[in-house]
Amino acid sequence: MTDLAASDPLPKPKRDVAPVLLPVALALVMIPFVGSTSSWVTLTIASLAMGMMIFIMASGLTLVFGLMDVLNFGHGAFIAVGAYIATLILLPLAGSLQADSLWLNLAVLAPAALLAMAASGVLGLVVERVLVLPVYGQHLKQILMTTGGLIVAEQMLYALWGPQIIPLPLPASLRGSVIIGDIAIAKYRLLAMLVGLVVYVAIELTLNRTKIGLLIRAGVENREMVEALGYRIRRLFLGVFMTGSALAGLGGVMWALYREQVHASMGGDLTVLIFIVIIIGGLGSISGCFIGALLVAMVANYGGFLVPKLALVSNILLMVAILMWRPRGLYAVTSR
């Protein structure tokens, strides 16, 4: 132990950069394997865009777990509900979406996304009050209750919208690619990356630069201490839960547009991917979740390009590899 004088600045926490370098290294290592530069750029952009979308969906889940030790197996429901709610605006206004004007398209997309976020957020409120609140602190029952919630939500979507896949074409101005030299970059991927970055920066700023963010981070590390200091962490938690659900709804809209279709089973399907991401990232860590999402997307894209057969199990292999290296995920923030 070193002696510190009162005037010395506090020692800076050590920065752990190895996980940050991981996606960069992975992308660089892939250059010789992929071969041509143009396909490498396309693949990398595709992974970044996909990673950002997964991050948007997963961020809420990891915070909810970190803050309150609540494992929400029904998180996928918010994704599907968000996508379905967005179709309420996008399908009737399909005419203005097909007009070749970026601003007109965005004027329809933005309210659809906002409505989806609002609906998912409200659903989050209901789920927290009805399903999560009664089984606080009991992992087993939480898992059972939220799994039941996912099933009910999925079946309600089937009952209300029918079992068929709803096609959701991209707006005219977001279709096609930007061509730079011999590199083609899909326009929608650029938008997805932009939205993902904005969300990431907003979350990081909120967590690191505001009082609420400070409380959330403190709550993740030691909930009882925050309660002892007189803060109502339950209310904070409800806020985080609703924000996380709303973000999942936003992610659902973006994912639906990316795949150009909406289906009730999309929530359940994506849940698996999201779980892998938050396990890789370390439960409760936003930066870990971000890196995890990028890694999962990269493995999916590069893997799908190089060895299509492997793509089925590549996520599991990635998870195994990461957990061998760091058994509690890239950044272990919680003591649990």
Binding site: K141, M145, Y158, A159, L312, V313, I316, L323
Partner: protein, 356 residues
């Protein structure tokens, strides 16, 4: 008492209920001749064993696994693929068992060592991920598994419905291969359930319950919790694979919908919760109630949906449509976790002991 491993039902109503179920199952081929009744009875037997093995995990160790259908599927596919490729001979059945059981155990060992070592909370998520990967794998490797169509196969001569062992004129009842298969399923399932009862009442089972109640304390007492949990996981996987084999033998078919789908996982969860977690007997009750409801209530739902549609009610026909069976299941599931966490068996035992 010996055969129940010193763990009787401990409730008069429950004992009567169990005896009635078991007698009904044993007498089904005589009492209710007909394909449907025997199908339902065989399904109850298979699921009772499968659910009991899941109860070992959920009820006795308190860890939620979503990979149980994977082991069930491994068992089903092992038998199906062996009989499909080797032809309807007993050697093929033996091969299926000899390949399927070790495969299930090894996979369970790998998952257990990998995910139970880190943190118990990972287990649920890791099993979900692995199971979904396996499901995709099974539908993709169509040269082996038949893809979405699955594999249909012929049973060995002795077990075929056409094989008449004792003709109807002799005892007033035809003992054919189908009935023989049914009793094979019944006896195998009963043996597996009794074995599980033995496991949970052994010192090993007590340690599992200790881990469920307080893992930290169990560890402090010197038990290697990871070893115990992984071991329990392997036993559960073995029995699940066994149940899967019975399922394949009974259906003469193995496919993604009958042995791997997430719906079956949900059914298992519901049966455990309805019957009562941590009781083993709950599996028999839960499976009986659930399978009977599934087979006979769905028709009722269809009728109700039709009636609602005829009455011109909005939304209700869609909600009551037989395809929306899962919706009500999900609601029932949430309600039973919330209101009856101890299930039917827990309720009956509680009512019995309250009178004393």
């Amino acid at each position: 008492m010996m055969i129940l491993s010193g763990d009787p039902p401990r409730s008069r109503v429950l004992s009567i209920l169990l005896v009635v179920i078991i007698l009904a199952l044993a007498a089904t081929p005589f009492l209710f001749p007909g394909a449907k009744a025997m199908n339902v009875a065989a399904q109850i037997c298979i699921f009772a064993a499968l659910v009991a093995s899941y109860d070992l995990l959920l009820g006795y160790t308190g860890s939620v696994s979503f990979a149980h259908t994977m082991f069930y599927g491994i068992g089903s596919y092992a038998i199906a693929i062996a009989l499909y490729s080797m032809g309807p001979v007993w050697a093929a059945v033996a091969t299926g068992i000899a390949v399927g059981l070790p495969l299930a155990a090894l996979l369970a060992l790998a998952i257990g060592l990998f995910s139970l070592r880190v943190a118990a909370i990972f287990f649920a998520m890791v099993t979900l991920a692995v199971a979904s990967a396996f499901q995709v794998l099974a539908s993709q490797l169509s040269w082996l598994t038949g893809g979405e169509d699955g594999r249909s196969f012929q049973l060995p001569e002795l077990l075929r419905p056409g094989t008449v062992l004792i003709s109807k004129s002799l005892i007033g009842f035809e003992l054919n291969g189908r009935v023989l298969t049914y009793y094979l399923v019944l006896i195998a399932a009963a043996t597996m359930i009794l074995c599980l009862l033995r496991v949970v009442n052994s010192p090993f089972g007590r340690v599992l319950q200790a881990i469920r109640e307080n893992r930290f304390r169990a560890e402090a007492l010197g038990f290697r919790t990871v070893f115990h949990l992984t071991y329990a996981n392997c036993i559960a996987a073995l029995v699940a694979a066994g149940a899967g084999m019975l399922n394949a033998l009974w259906l003469r078919y193995a496919g993604p919908d009958t042995s791997l789908s997430f719906t079956i996982m949900l059914d298992i969860l519901l049966m455990v919760v309805i019957g009562g977690m941590g009781t083993i007997y709950g599996a028999i009750i839960g499976a009986s109630i659930f399978i009977l409801a599934q087979n006979y209530l769905q028709a009722l739902m269809g009728a109700a949906s039709k009636a609602a549609a005829d009455a011109g009610l909005p939304l209700l026909p869609g909600l009551l449509h037989p395809d929306r069976w899962l919706l009500w299941l999900g609601l029932l599931f949430i309600a039973s976790v919330y209101f009856f966490p101890t299930g039917v068996v827990g309720r009956l035992r509680g009512a019995g002991s309250a009178k004393h």
